[in-house]
């Protein structure tokens, strides 16, 4: 118990004095997982739209793969990406192993099925006639797609937050492909493991608090946003 209390105290001191390791790992985590979420969105939303709106051979197979992908164990992703990126691997020539890019790739693979799958569900949950209505009011195909994304955005935002939460809290894959290199690929989760190894529980706790704060803030922001539409009206009426 003393350990925890003392750890909490030390953790706050480290956070508020801007301990260099804590700051470094936090920024690296945000950079890595932020990029990964952004890329997952850019890839996943069009793919989700395609799967929701188009019918083509092999579509069901892809949907099944996406659904299975939502439960993909991150460690397995890490291992496969590592094998591909090793110097001896197919993409070894890119020299991406133990870089932020490698971590981003692994995280995109973890988050992408979530974004695609939830986009697909979100679009399919909309009234299919909304599409006709938009077209019937003079929207072009792309304007109609923008409308669909807007209509489904709350569900899709939940997908983003879920994906972000999953990858920023993930340790197995980033450790495997990033290597937890100080100053380069050390992120919050791998730093926590390292600090426990070093017996520095205060730093480990400080890092854990920041990780918790980030995931909580993201979830809280989403909740606020989801409630906004209804809330504003109720206040003014």
């Amino acid at each position: 118990m003393d350990l925890l209390l003392d750890g909490v105290k030390q953790a706050f001191i480290l956070i508020f004095t801007g301990d260099s390791l804590v700051v470094e790992a936090t920024l690296r985590s945000l950079q890595t997982s932020g990029s990964a979420v952004l890329i997952s969105l850019l890839l996943g939303v069009p793919l989700g739209l395609l799967l929701a709106l188009a019918r083509f051979p092999g579509r069901n197979l892809i949907v099944a793969i996406i659904n299975a992908g939502m439960g993909l164990p991150p460690v397995v992703v890490g291992l496969v990406v590592a094998i591909l990126l090793w110097r001896s691997g197919i993409f070894g020539f890119l020299g991406l192993m133990y870089t932020v890019a490698a971590m981003v790739i692994a995280q995109v693979i973890i988050a992408l099925p979530l974004v695609v799958g939830l986009t697909l569900t979100a679009i399919q949950q909309l009234n299919p006639k909304l599409r006709l209505q938009a077209l019937a009011l003079g929207a072009s195909k792309s304007q109609m797609l923008v409308m669909l994304v807007k209509e489904a955005k709350l569900t899709m935002l939940a997908a983003v937050i879920a994906g972000f939460g999953a990858i920023i809290s993930e340790v197995g894959a980033v450790l495997m492909v990033g290597g937890n290199i100080s100053g380069q690929t050390r992120v919050l989760t791998t730093a926590i493991v390292e600090q426990v190894g070093r017996g520095d529980f205060s730093r480990a706790l400080a890092l854990s608090f920041i990780l918790l704060a980030i995931t909580f803030t993201a979830t809280y922001a989403l909740t606020l946003y989801q409630q906004k539409g209804v809330g504003v009206w109720r206040r003014t009426s």
């Binding site: 350990l3 950079q31 990029s35 952004l38 890329i39 850019l42 890839l43 069009p46 793919l47 739209l49 395609l50 709106l53 188009a54 083509f56 090793w86 110097r87 001896s88 070894g92 991406l96 192993m97 133990y98 870089t99 932020v100 890019a101 981003v104 790739i105 995109v108 195909k141 792309s142 797609l145 290597g179 937890n180 290199i181 100080s182 100053g183 380069q184 390292e194 426990v196 190894g197 070093r198 017996g199 529980f201």
Partner: protein, 293 residues
């Protein structure tokens, strides 16, 4: 419809490519700016595969910056167990190894996977366990005898079981004692030294640890040091440059710079001084100059 969607997919792919490129260039910028000297990035990067004990004790935090300052080479340290470090070297995925498992190291060399191997330093293993010492290992003359006592009592023994250098050392001691450890009392964690010590603490069992990791965890546990400074508890570390004839992609030049640095007077002094301030005793004893003579 399809035309539009496929166009969107292509655009997204391009964006991804740019973002990844952006990330990696950003990363280069981020790492080179704080340590800006005369174009150190040009000197290249080496991947050092080593054991968790060298990182967790903090030794690498002293050695790597000094090496970078002297040579301009960036070191990517991947801290894993000795077994995995040797495997990375055996695949050509690391340029230089800093490990402690003499038998396995020699095998590595005879297979031609390594080009150069040098002794670097040693520390020693310690046997730690519950304060009341149920197996009575305190009075043992060596590790093998202590292990026999533990086995006879079937007292909890926590093994790393991860093929690391420490694990290999532990198995060789069991071997010497003529015992094949098995049963509920023999617990394999499959994890690093620090985690294993914490598990031993929780299970009130014995475990074999390197001295450095024990010292870092000492404040967090109530199991204690029971046996030390015996002949069969020495833990020698070697440095190996991976063979470029086998793996043309390895940075052999950079690796040799690291080998030379860590065995040089400067590197050896850092090792000799390390830990004096924090633990009031050095954690490692330099060996290189002694063997070089």
């Amino acid at each position: 419809m399809r035309k539009f969607v496929s166009a969107a997919v292509i655009i997204a792919l391009f964006l991804t490519a740019f973002t990844i490129m952006g990330c990696s260039s950003q990363k280069k910028a981020a790492t080179s700016i704080p340590k800006e000297t005369a174009k150190p990035a040009d000197k290249g990067t080496i991947i050092l595969a080593t054991t968790t004990s060298t990182r967790d004790t903090g030794l690498l935090d002293m050695l790597i910056p000094a090496f970078k300052k002297k040579t301009g080479i960036t070191v990517k340290t991947i801290a894993v167990g000795t077994g995995e470090a040797l495997k990375m070297g055996g695949r050509g995925d690391a340029d230089v190894l800093l490990v402690h498992a003499r038998k396995a190291e020699d095998e590595f060399m005879t297979k031609g996977l390594g080009k150069v191997r040098k002794d670097v330093m040693h520390n020693d293993f310690v046997l730690i366990g519950p304060k009341n010492d149920p197996a009575g290992v305190k009075i043992a003359t060596g590790a093998a005898e202590a292990f026999k006592k533990i086995a006879a009592k079937q007292a909890n023994f926590v093994s790393r079981g991860d093929g690391s250098g420490t694990n290999k050392k532990e198995l060789s001691v069991w071997d010497k004692a003529g015992i094949k450890p098995a049963g509920a009392w023999y617990i394999k964690t499959g994890q690093g030294m620090a985690e294993t010590i914490l598990i031993a603490n929780g299970k009130q069992g014995y475990t074999l640890s390197d001295r450095g990791t024990y010292l870092t965890q000492k404040g967090n546990i109530d199991i204690t040091l029971l046996l030390e400074k015996k002949k069969d508890l020495l833990n020698p570390y070697g440095v190996i440059a991976v063979n470029p004839d086998k793996f043309p992609k390895v940075n052999y030049k950079g690796a040799m710079e690291f080998v030379n640095f860590i065995t040089s007077g400067e590197g050896q002094k850092i090792i000799a001084d390390f830990g004096k301030d924090k633990y009031s005793q050095p954690l490692f004893v330099p060996d290189a100059e002694k063997t070089a003579k």
